[in-house]
């Protein structure tokens, strides 16, 4: 599926409009206030709320391998207070300064064969780095698409669209509640962003562009890189493990919500048992689907990991939330990865 859609949504044009009317400045003080604003527009993150043009200083970015969220298109951007910059880190997310706001809008075109047209924004999630740590805030767009309203307890939103193959799809899109935000974003005791690691931002030029724009310091000569899950030029296991890290590894890590499972899906986890290879379930319950191992090498249909990716049933499906439909393309990838393993 196409990764980037409509110019108005992504706001590429924003950087060329400055002359006519002064664009509003991002309200950094409002972002850092104790109570979140009732309306997204209060922060002035966008120069034009209707068109979603980023305000000056708001920089969009893309990830090599994104999280699957029911095929929603995502607009990602970051804002840092003027005069500040993120510091490069080799592992984990970049070290962003206090005041940083990471912005992610989830949207659906009416028809994925015409992805620039009739785009409906569903929600915009913010992660704001306050002095005491990152704080997640979610906004749900109104029907008129003129502003988005604070939602803390989550919401189900009916969404229908035509998929890339021309099939009509209907989902009960789930906007997460604030605790669910934390379930994925908590590592140990701290909420942290997941996407913007140096490795996942490293598409060959994005990190350098951030650095030359003054948004990133300390860039080394050799930078880590996470594979693109959908780049067939890359080795299959590397792509599959990148996919698993991004889609599963935020919980399935030694410091994540699923630490007690002993299944760790970072792309560089060294221990085969922790990767799931030949690993028996611990607390999967009926989620095991009657299968013996998380990954049965060479036998995808005998692998619990794939079974839970394929399921859409609460109590069985993985991730536990964040999707209501299965990701056919991701399943193909992980299936091929397991099939290509040497049986034990």
């Amino acid at each position: 599926m196409k990764r980037l859609i409509s110019l108005p949504l992504l706001g590429v044009a924003a950087f060329s409009i400055g002359a006519a009317a002064p664009a509003p400045r991002v309200d950094g003080a409002r972002l850092l206030a104790d109570d979140p604003a009732p309306l997204l527009s209060a922060y002035h993150l966008f120069a034009d709320d209707a068109a979603q043009l980023p305000s000056p200083g708001v920089t969009r970015y893309t990830l090599n391998t994104p999280l699957f969220s029911d095929y929603a298109e995502k607009f990602r951007a970051v804002w840092m207070p003027p005069g500040t910059a993120a510091a490069f880190t080799d592992k984990g997310v970049l070290d962003f300064p206090i005041g940083t706001t990471i912005i992610k809008t989830f949207a659906y075109p009416a028809d994925f064969r015409a992805p620039d047209k009739a785009v409906r924004r569903i929600e915009t999630r913010l992660l704001v780095r306050k002095a005491a740590g990152w704080v997640p805030i979610s906004y749900v767009w109104n029907t008129a698409q003129t502003d988005a309203v604070l939602k803390r307890a989550g919401l189900r939103v009916p969404v229908s669209f035509i998929d890339a193959a021309g099939a009509a799809r209907q989902i009960d899109y789930a906007v997460p509640n604030i605790n669910q935000c934390k379930q994925c974003h908590l590592q140990g005791a701290d909420v942290t962003p997941i996407g913007p690691t140096a490795a996942n931002l490293n598409d060959g030029h994005q990190l350098a562009a951030l650095a030359s724009a003054g948004h990133l310091t300390g860039l080394p000569a050799v930078m880590p890189r996470l594979a693109r899950w959908d780049d067939v030029a890359e080795p299959l296991p590397v792509r599959a493990r990148a996919y698993l890290e991004v889609n599963c590894g935020h919980c399935h890590s030694p410091a994540g919500f699923a630490s007690n499972s002993g299944l760790y899906l970072q792309h560089d986890e060294p221990d085969p048992a922790h990767q799931g290879i030949g690993k028996r379930p611990v607390a999967a319950g009926r989620g095991s689907g009657g299968l013996m191992f998380a990954i049965a090498p060479g036998d995808p249909d005998a692998s619990i990991l794939l079974h839970r990716m394929e399921s859409n049933e609460p109590g069985v499906m993985m991730p536990q939330f964040g999707r209501t439909m299965s990701h056919a393309e991701g399943i193909v990838l992980v299936r091929a990865y397991i099939a290509g393993m040497k049986p034990k």
């Binding site: 803390r152 307890a153 789930a174 007690n260 002993g262 109590g315």
Partner: protein
């Protein structure tokens, strides 16, 4: 940080603690979840009488909050229509009391706590109301990676794994509770310092299990006492999904101790279980974790009252063994495995003994971890007494946790 300091201040002055009332009715999901998010430390969320129809899992991430209903028959969190999430109710904060309500038909687990220090489950009912089924959720109450865990007067029915499951936790009391019609009634897994007493486990596949498994952040389960429990007629066919460790529990098992050290089973009534009254076994699957010890060590079974067990053993070879020794299994069986091979290393023998004075004892003499049941050399011994073993220390929870859990 300012906000955090403010919250601490509220905790320290109970006068400011609020009671938030949430009743069933329209939009219950959002109203209840909002209350769980907006609660401040010290607050009590009062759930009204009636049935809350819930469309998604609920979660609580605020410390020092009590969620109280009008009683396990009066206040029902009904997850029959649940569309998402792995639990009915998830708690991820410290010092939380859950009391006086029911959770029905959760799609995954009933109530889970993760990494909670001071979690109390009191006078709750967690039930899958269509009886034992493979499609029921896995665990009824499920504290994991938690500390100071109290489970008191909890009733669980129909879990497709364990009714009451405590995993990778420390300082645990499970008491006055009843587990019925689950695969495992009560299961203590990879946990340290647990007192399991005055409970009833009946109609499950296995009554009370104490397990230790490899490849997990916390392993080396130890210091566990099972006493004054009623472990009666746990003969339900196993309905767990294959692959899970409890799927290997034979129907008819009263108490099962697998791996672990320093487990004492005493003063229980263990009756009418078709297989073993008490089974002491090694973890028999292959493993690669060099830090894992698959053997049961320093296990004491003493002073229990047995009757009517052992007439229909369901484990492989059980019927043959029973017929060879007079038709009925003795109340206590040990697989007799005393050695294992460390992955990539040397053969290791068990340090510490098995002490059984509830005679007679059936010893299968399998010797080495991984030996097949066909290699058994069954032997009935009157008793197996090495030096008496030191009883694990009594588990004492913080007085404030006990007082709060018991307060009207």
């Amino acid at each position: 940080m300012l906000k955090y300091a403010l919250l601490i201040a509220i905790t320290a002055t109970p006068a400011t603690a609020r009671t938030i009332i949430v009743n069933p009715g329209a939009n219950a999901q959002e109203r209840l979840q909002t209350a769980l998010i907006d609660a401040k430390p010290g607050d009590t969320i009062r759930l009204g009488k009636g049935r809350f129809a819930l469309a998604d899992g609920l979660s609580l991430d605020v410390p020092n909050v009590a969620v109280r209903g009008a009683g396990p028959a009066q206040t029902i969190l009904d997850f029959t229509g649940q569309k998402g999430e792995g639990e009915g109710l998830l708690v991820t904060a410290n010092n939380v009391l859950l009391r006086d309500f029911a959770v029905e038909n959760a799609k995954g687990n009933g109530i889970k706590s993760k990494a909670s220090d001071g979690i109390s489950f009191v006078n709750l009912r967690v039930e899958w109301t269509h009886g034992p089924k493979a499609t029921n959720g896995a665990y009824g109450v499920y504290p994991v990676s938690s500390q100071h865990v109290l489970i008191d007067k909890v009733y669980v029915k129909g879990a497709s794994d364990a009714g009451i499951y405590v995993g990778q936790s420390q300082q645990i009391i499970v008491r006055n509770s009843k587990a019925e019609g689950n695969v495992a009634g009560i299961e203590i897994e990879n946990s340290y310092n647990a007192d399991v007493h005055d409970n009833v486990a009946t109609g499950n596949t296995g009554g009370i299990l104490v397990f230790d498994l490899p490849d997990l952040p916390q392993q080396g389960g130890h210091a566990i006492r099972l006493f004054r429990n009623q472990v009666i007629a746990n003969n339900h066919p196993n309905f767990a999904s294959a692959g899970n460790i409890v799927a290997s529990v034979p129907s008819g098992t009263g108490v099962m101790v697998m791996a672990n050290r320093d487990v004492h089973v005493f003063d229980n009534d263990i009756k009418d279980n078709g297989g073993n009254g008490v089974m002491i076994v090694a973890y028999q699957n292959k493993f690669t974790d060099v830090h894992y010890n698959p053997l049961p060590r320093e296990i004491a079974v003493r002073g229990n009252r047995f009757a009517g067990n052992g007439s229909k053993p369901a484990f492989p070879g059980g019927a043959q063994i029973a017929s060879a020794i007079g038709g009925t299994l003795p109340p206590v069986m040990w697989d007799g495995i005393t050695g294992y091979t460390v992955p990539g290393g040397a053969v290791t023998q068990a340090a510490g003994s098995i002490f059984v004075n509830d005679s007679p004892l059936l010893n299968l003499n399998l010797k080495m971890q991984g030996a097949q049941p066909t290699a058994a050399q069954p032997e009935v011994a009157k008793m197996l007494i090495a030096a008496p073993l030191t009883v694990p220390a009594v588990v004492v929870l913080p007085a404030a946790q006990e007082a709060r859990a018991n307060a009207k």
